[in-house]
């Protein structure tokens, strides 16, 4: 009979446990299983951290830096790039480069409101006043400034060669494959803002410790653009990427370098 008394005790314990739980519930303690707000469908997400984390950080890095692509969490970059350019880049992407179009009108996933939320989020979270140390603020697109490739070559030898010359510490930027993948604008932006997260200085000190002028930047871009295979230059300007078979040979030889 002690067996059945034991089972009585077990039952009593179980019922005690359940009544405690029930009391907790009645006492207003939120039970963990109670469903919270329902799921938000992807198109209704408006919160910047979530939008950024699902759509951007794959390339641009966690918190806008240390990513494979352009640093976004950089006050200098956000000062130089006009807000409408930022918006347009997100909406339309950069044809011919790795930046895809995100607007639904372009076949991407984001609604116009979400694009605006991203632009505003980037500005509000990462834009800060920049101390230019007296240097002139360069124009983003360099429009109206005609680059001189010859001068660009000299500047390259003076300011860039240490890191970006053949076999130098950081690696070549005159490589045909690399130049085939970046637009002139991307080159220009890279010279202006550098990669502070990976140690590349910006235009304020690139000129042997002094600031590069608008003209210098355009000259450098012109020099680099000249080194780009001509077939690719056409493709980068036009909408259709893919340079056909004649591009293959250049890759073949440069992939050799990749193995070293």
């Amino acid at each position: 009979m002690s067996k059945s008394r034991n089972s009585m005790q077990t039952r009593r314990r179980i019922s005690l446990f359940s009544s405690v739980l029930l009391l907790l519930c009645v006492a207003g303690c939120e039970p963990p299983g109670k469903p919270g707000a329902g799921e938000v469908s992807a198109e209704d997400v408006m919160d910047f951290p979530t939008l950024y984390a699902t759509n951007c950080q794959g390339c641009h890095g966690v918190d806008g830096k240390n990513g494979a692509a352009r640093i976004l969490n950089d006050p200098l970059y956000l000062t130089v790039i006009p807000k409408d350019q930022l918006q347009e880049t997100i909406e339309m992407g950069r044809p011919g480069t790795a930046m895809p179009a995100w607007a639904q009108s372009q076949g991407g996933p984001l609604t116009p409101k979400q694009v605006t939320a991203l632009v505003n989020g980037i500005e509000q979270n990462w834009a800060k006043p920049v101390n230019f140390h007296g240097a002139a603020v360069p124009s983003y697109s360099g429009e109206g400034v005609n680059g001189n490739a010859d001068n660009g070559r000299k500047l390259f030898g003076r300011d860039c060669f240490m890191c970006h010359g053949p076999g130098a510490r950081i690696g070549s930027v005159t490589d045909a494959s690399f130049l085939s993948l970046v637009t002139d604008q991307a080159l220009r932006t890279s010279i202006i803002v550098g990669r502070p997260d990976f140690g590349m200085p910006d235009y304020r000190v690139l000129g042997l410790g002094h600031a590069l002028s608008d003209q210098d930047i355009s000259d450098l871009v012109a020099y680099l653009a000249e080194k780009r295979p001509p077939a690719v230059t056409a493709a980068l300007v036009g909408p259709a990427p893919g340079a056909g078979n004649e591009g293959n040979k250049s890759t073949g030889s440069s992939s050799e370098r990749g193995t070293q």
Partner: protein, 502 residues
């Protein structure tokens, strides 16, 4: 006092309650059957009763219409007083019902209870199993969300593979050519009227058979069932050690039922109801359909099978399996009952359970599914980017851009369909990477038409850096035959190679 007694006697004379009691609850069972092993059947029945009651309550509010079901579920979750809790009890009750039913079936199998003379008890139990799985599937459809919609789509696609009548069966299942308003009504009818009705009818038969043929005695190793002697042996057991089921053998069932009720209540309180997950709008293609856990193993099997085996596993294997289970009491009708003397039976139970659990685990993790947001959401680990050349950085960007991460992980993030790229340079030389990207192979699509040569160059240049400091990069086993610049001709298909030579 006397009047009361007279009234009781009168009632009993009219309703024959004593006789009913004696032939049901009070019927004599072998004392050995009052064992913890015998509690799962009553637990399953208890779960079913809970399901009927909570289901009826939910039906007070639920609207079985494709335009309203989701709203009414949201109402249950957020507005209706304790609506979420009833949904949770119904959900966990169904999970427990499947779980205890499985335990019951394993116990019956291991205890040889399906043998003579209880063949029909086993067979009716099999039909209860099928009905319960039917309830699980139709119940998943009641939770009218994206999982429900695409679960139906999977069901219809499986039907569509049946030869000859597949097309009509799809229309029959969906109540039309496509998932629409009538589909949900059809599944509601199945879930609320037809299958529960069938279950009640079969339970009545199942219990009637238990009463008619007696509960299986706890098997003694060495005792052999013979058709000629078993009935007399069982009568002997009942005469010698028979006890009335109530109250002498029901104690453990009672304790276990209380445990089951509390278990369901606590699970429901802690984990809550499931879903509804996403709005059932098929135009929202940004979805990741997964079935409830009872079907995860099937879901996994369908992903892992080579396609020539799919027909076999979808239709022929279940048919053979079911036929085998139906025939089991006739195949091994007599002989040893105790699991201690039936090693093959024990091993097959262990094997089947392991297979199902492993598959369900795979179904839960779904390593074969591309991670749809990895390319845009999973950042390249910083350690792979430090000190890389501009071209390699660009290669890393392209690796994201071309959705490589959806199937290949880096630093533990990304899809698991393909191998991780963390140390790819120790496995492949640059040439092999180029070939793999252009031509695909293994289970990888060919990217030849979607990447330009500079893009391949950048990606390969990045991937050749993906190796631990201490491990040398992969290299060819023999030096190349010639020192000519490597060109793409070697990786082109033969026909194009011929073109290139021209």
């Amino acid at each position: 006092m006397k009047t009361l007694r007279n009234m009781a006697v009168w009632l009993d004379e009219r309703l024959h309650l004593t006789a009913l009691w004696a032939s049901s609850a009070g019927h004599e069972v072998p004392a050995t059957s009052g064992s913890w092993w015998y509690v799962f059947g009553s637990a399953t029945l208890l779960c079913f009763i809970i399901q009927v009651i909570t289901g009826a309550c939910l039906a007070f509010v639920y609207i079985p219409s494709t335009s309203e079901a989701y709203t009414s579920l949201q109402y249950l979750n957020h507005v209706q007083f304790w609506g979420w809790y009833l949904r949770a009890i119904h959900y966990w009750g169904s999970n427990c019902m499947v779980a205890f039913m499985t335990c019951h079936m394993i116990q019956v199998f291991l205890f040889g209870a399906y043998k003579y003379p209880r063949e029909l008890t086993w067979i009716s139990g099999l039909f209860l199993l099928l009905c319960t799985l039917g309830m699980a599937f139709t119940g998943q459809v009641m939770r009218w969300d994206q999982d429900a919609y695409w679960g139906l789509s999977i069901g219809a696609s499986i039907m569509g593979r049946i030869p000859l009548i597949g097309g009509q069966l799809v229309h029959l299942l969906l109540a039309g050519p496509i998932i629409a308003g009538e589909t949900l009504s059809r599944f509601f009818t199945l879930h609320v009227f037809i299958i529960p009705g069938l279950i009640i009818a079969i339970i009545v038969m199942h219990l009637r058979l238990v009463l008619a043929k007696g509960i299986n005695e706890y098997p003694r190793p060495g005792y052999q069932v013979h058709r000629a002697t078993y009935d007399a042996d069982y009568a002997d057991i009942i005469r010698k050690e028979g006890v009335p089921f109530v109250p002498k053998a029901v104690d453990k069932d009672l304790i276990f039922s209380a445990f089951v009720i509390v278990l369901i209540l606590v699970l429901a309180l802690v984990f809550g109801p499931k879903g509804p997950k996403g709005i059932p709008d098929p135009a929202l293609v940004d979805t990741n359909p997964r079935p409830d856990f009872y079907f995860l193993s099937i879901f996994a099997a369908l992903a892992l099978l080579p396609d020539w085996m799919e027909m076999l596993v979808m239709f022929i294997a279940p048919a053979i399996g079911l036929l085998y289970l139906l025939a089991l009491p006739f195949i091994s009708n007599t002989g040893e009952k105790s699991a201690r003397r039936r090693p093959v039976a024990v091993l097959s139970v262990i094997l089947i359970v392991l297979v199902i659990v492993t598959l369900a685990w795979y179904g839960e993790t779904s390593p074969w599914s591309p991670d749809m947001v990895a390319w845009s959401g999973a950042a390249v680990p910083v350690k792979f980017l430090k000190g890389r050349t501009p071209l390699q950085m660009h290669g890393a960007t392209l690796l994201q851009n071309k959705q490589c991460r959806n199937c290949h992980s880096l630093g533990g993030e990304g899809g698991e369909r393909g191998p991780s790229l963390d140390a790819v340079a120790t496995r492949l030389t640059a040439d092999q990477m180029v070939r793999q990207i252009i031509q695909g192979g293994g289970n990888m699509p060919a990217y030849g038409k979607k990447v330009t040569p500079p893009e391949v160059d950048a990606m390969v240049s990045f991937m050749t850096t993906l190796r631990p400091e201490s491990t040398p990069p992969s290299r060819d086993s023999a030096p190349p035959m010639n020192k000519l610049p490597r060109d793409f001709a070697v990786v082109l298909p033969p026909a194009e190679q011929a073109d290139a030579k021209k």
